[in-house]
Symmetry: D2
């Protein structure tokens, strides 16, 4: 089952500067081979359900190994059976609508 996911990892107990942890998670995604893109408040990823959630699990493990004792992550997951849709398609659909008016 294909999924489009958007997630935000918040390490807890490591102070206020979270960017080293967010960067480490980007490296985990890089190694996963999945298609992903960062935005200011999270990261979008697409792929097979099991692979995507294994990659997010690997982020948690990598961040615990870096010293984060606690992690709170928010994930949005979309699946659809009516048609295939990529992250690019989603943006294009909205842009097409915006041009209508």
């Amino acid at each position: 089952m294909k999924v489009i996911v958007d997630f935000t990892v918040v390490p807890i107990g490591v102070g206020v500067s979270l960017s080293p942890y967010v960067a480490e998670c980007q490296r985990v995604l890089e190694r996963s081979g999945l298609d992903f893109r960062m935005h200011p408040n999270g990261t979008g990823v697409e792929g097979e359900w099991d692979q995507v959630f294994a990659a997010i699990r690997d982020c948690h493990q990598a961040l615990h190994e870096m010293g984060a004792p606690r992690i709170s992550t928010t994930i949005k997951v979309g699946t659809r059976t009516d048609r295939q849709q990529s992250m690019n398609d989603k943006i294009l659909s909205v842009e097409k609508q915006l041009k209508k008016k």
Copy 2:
């Protein structure tokens, strides 16, 4: 890796009455053997990472089979390495704090 998860499944394209779908997802969780509890805006689940996310995947599959062409789910995931904590422990910690003042 143990996780505490809270998730909300929103089937799209099946009208406004979502309770038959939420109920089906409860049945999937029942069969998973995981510890879970429903609240008005979602369901809390605890267990091993892979088992919990397999159960949520099975909810998506069951809801697609019921006829939902599209599903949007929001998931909060917590992991910690400093100590074990159950959903009950979380509630008890806050209640202890509330009694202090």
Copy 3:
């Protein structure tokens, strides 16, 4: 506009024990007069849009005053115009479905 909200406040930069902060947020909700109920992974609240979001803003302010330099909160918001629905109604709808099979 009536809303049903579910939210989870994560103070960042205050160590791993978050329960004193979660408890303070419960006190803010108590003072707001809104109908709310805590569960292991967040708190459900219902009321008018502006009052509910003012209460969550007041939680942020109270937690910053307690010393949290950074806060990350996740909020789910539901509104509907087809009929009135309370948090209790949502639970009852699902329970009714669960009894069917």
Copy 4:
């Protein structure tokens, strides 16, 4: 209080094509004068707490007026008192970290 918000609006009961609704919400944001940017799975917005949540409320109202009987929205909110940070700053912090290794 300044906030950085990321939100995803899911209209329910209007079929599977949500892009006309997402586009309408972009128009509401445009009129709000707030700084915002869309990504494949949501929209980031920054500004004062009350203005940002009024804009999201206006999205809900606009979508109900378009015919959506029910809307489910997920919002991530960040506030911090230690320093000012924009959405651009967040991306730059992570990119700086990624260059380190």
